[in-house]
């Protein structure tokens, strides 16, 4: 038999249901695997070996190990956003997604490394140091959910949760060769997700295949009165969209995503993938999303502005780190924040505060919100009559080297150029493995659909997976 850690959640569930597998064996194997590998990969900021157990023996995820990104609150467990300022913070409550996982018997095995407060595309801004890409330990795993994606790719967990504000689930999934889904804004409750940019944040699954992503989304999706932005719409059984059929599906291919700056191997892999879907009966339509080139600028006003406001709560009073020897209250705030936040967090707080400050609000924040409308209209037009889904690369390049972009914020920000528009428009989008570069690094294809059309994405991705084996390739570790 294959090693249990290399199986998917649905394969393991089948074995458990047939009574041919005792779930504790999965855990034993997973913890051995973590012990063996995580010194190299550093995907975990906390391994929960002592308390890891299913809280119920029934449920869709009974016995399945799940790794949680460190910005999602788990009751009485360290939740730090990979920041010094939240050192030692143990939330007094569970995030809604955690509550749901526990009710379905999932086993929470630990917390995943990330860019500090999810500010980054490489995991290098973590207070705990960078996570490594399992495919090449000298390279970044992507970010900000880099720990979650790397652990899934390295078989250190079966499933993982990430969060996505500008690509933080999809870009690391792409760079690590796994499946990552950002659901529609409002599909999954953010109660207990430590906020970065409230008009963009969404929690979503990272998994080894499309079916596992559907399984996990089934559990975490749904309305929650604790999150006023969560939407009160029925949640379909996403497993029912796992049908191998794309006949007549209209795939939009936006010309603005295939321009200067895209890596040759990436471009080739995406075009091949689109042709595979075409051979199965899908139609491709050349479309234009003319405001694409403004998405990054829009995002780097909206996201830091909202972040600067959300991060005002970290002042050393209620939780986390407090600087010693402050002269007075203001000095305590200033010292705590200056010592507690890392470079990228400070940079974004400064940028956001500037864009919101008196005299600049209209020129920056309001302007960006207006351009956001134009970006959203591009998608409305495309999905209105032209196509059912849109396919693009997830990231313009495969994983880059650790250290390569960290000194130059703007070049780091450009890593998310293809993923940001979905957040600005609130759309669901998935990254699926679709090829490898010449030096054997994973490449991901991004599938976008209109709001709440996750089912279209699942069907397209599942069909692609049935005729390819990119998702089955494993890194040599």
């Amino acid at each position: 038999m294959e090693n249990l850690y290399s199986l998917t959640a649905h394969e393991l569930r089948e074995l458990i249901d047939k009574k041919s597998l005792e779930p504790s064996r999965i855990l034993d194997e997973i913890f051995k695997r973590i012990e063996l590998l995580d010194d190299k990969i550093k995907a975990f900021v906390l391994v929960n070996k002592l308390n890891a157990k299913a809280e119920t023996k029934i449920g869709k995820l009974f016995g399945i190990p799940v790794l949680i990104k460190d910005n999602i609150c788990v009751k009485d467990e360290n939740t730090t956003c990979a920041s010094k300022i939240l050192e030692g913070f143990k939330p007094p409550y569970d995030a809604t997604v955690i509550k749901k996982l526990k009710l379905e018997g999932a086993v929470l095995i630990g917390k995943a490394n990330m860019d500090e407060f999810a500010f980054g595309s490489s995991c290098e801004t973590s207070f705990y140091g960078p996570t490594k890409n399992p495919w090449d330990l000298e390279r970044i795993p992507g970010g900000s959910s880099g720990g979650s994606a790397a652990a899934v790719a390295a078989d250190e967990t079966i499933l993982a949760l990430g969060s996505d504000t500008g690509g933080s689930i999809r870009q690391p999934a792409s760079l690590c060769g796994v499946v990552g889904l950002k659901p529609t804004y409002g599909r999954v409750s953010r109660y207990g997700l430590i906020a970065f940019a409230s008009s963009l944040d969404q929690i979503g699954p990272i998994a080894k295949d499309v079916k596992d992503a559907a399984l996990l989304l089934n559990v975490i999706a749904g309305h929650d009165e604790m999150d006023s932005t969560s939407v009160d719409l029925p949640v379909p059984d996403y497993r029912k969209s796992l049908v191998k059929d794309v006949k007549g599906l209209r795939i939009g291919v936006p010309k603005e995503y295939f321009v200067k700056g895209i890596d040759k191997d990436v471009e080739e892999a995406i075009k091949k993938a689109i042709n595979i879907l075409k051979d199965l009966g899908a139609k491709t339509i050349d479309i234009s999303l003319p405001h694409t080139e403004y998405a990054l600028s829009t995002y780097y006003i909206v996201a830091p502005a909202e972040a600067s406001s959300n991060l005002a709560r970290f002042d050393g009073v209620q939780y986390g780190f407090r600087a010693k020897d402050a002269k007075d209250l203001i000095d305590m705030y200033v010292q705590t924040r200056s010592q507690g936040f890392g470079n990228e967090a400070k940079r974004r707080i400064l940028l956001g505060t500037y864009c919101l400050s008196s005299g600049y609000y209209d020129a920056y924040y309001l302007k960006a919100q207006k351009v956001r409308t134009k970006i959203k209209e591009d998608f409305d037009n495309a999905f209105g009559s032209l196509c059912d889904c849109i396919i693009t690369p997830t990231s313009p390049t495969p994983a880059f080297k650790i250290g390569e972009r960290i000194e130059e914020p703007l070049s780091m920000y450009l890593s998310d150029i293809y993923t940001i528009p979905a957040n600005l428009a609130g759309l669901p989008a998935m990254s699926v493995p679709c090829g490898f570069s010449k030096n054997n690094l994973p490449i991901g294809m991004q599938i976008l659909a209109k709001p709440f059309a996750e089912e279209t994405i699942f069907r397209t991705a599942y069909t692609f997976e049935q005729v390819t084996d990119f998702h089955k390739k494993k890194p040599k570790l």
């Binding site: 913070f89 143990k90 007094p92 529609t184 804004y185 409002g186 008009s199 009165e225 006023s228 932005t229 939407v231 080139e293 403004y294 990054l296 600028s297 780097y300 005002a312 002042d315 009073v317 209620q318 939780y319 986390g320 780190f321 407090r322 402050a326 002269k327 007075d328 209250l329 203001i330 305590m332 705030y333 200033v334 010292q335 924040r337 200056s338 936040f341 400070k346 940079r347 707080i349 400064l350 940028l351 505060t353 500037y354 400050s357 309001l366 302007k367 919100q369 207006k370 956001r372 409308t373 134009k374 959203k376 914020p409 703007l410 957040n423 600005l424 428009a425 609130g426 759309l427 709001p451």
Partner: protein, 99 residues
């Protein structure tokens, strides 16, 4: 949009309750200037009659909850993470001047 100078960065740091040393001030001024100059690309678009989007989906409506009595977290749990506390309170340096 004008490009940010060091005095402005210093002022914004004050508003953000951050203190920057000389090197940080130098570095962030340079980096913010380059980011803002990239961002100024947005001025190419005429947005005169475009409404702003603050919520991506057109489901914008006020959300009310029923006014029901529900248990909340207990004080000990809430205070558990406090760097400093006294009784049922968070403790911080003196706010009001005087004795």
């Amino acid at each position: 949009m004008k490009i940010i100078d060091k005095a402005t960065v210093k002022h914004v740091a004050l508003l953000s309750r951050l203190i920057l040393n000389k090197d940080e001030l130098e570095l962030y001024s340079k980096q913010l200037a380059s980011i803002l100059s990239y961002i100024s690309k947005l001025n190419e678009i005429n947005t005169k009659d475009v409404p702003p989007t603050s919520h991506a989906l057109a489901t914008l409506k006020n959300v009310f909850r029923k006014d029901l009595l529900k248990p909340s977290l207990n004080t000990d749990d809430v205070l558990k993470n406090a760097p400093s506390k006294e009784g049922a309170f968070f403790k911080c340096p003196q706010v009001i001047e005087g004795k």
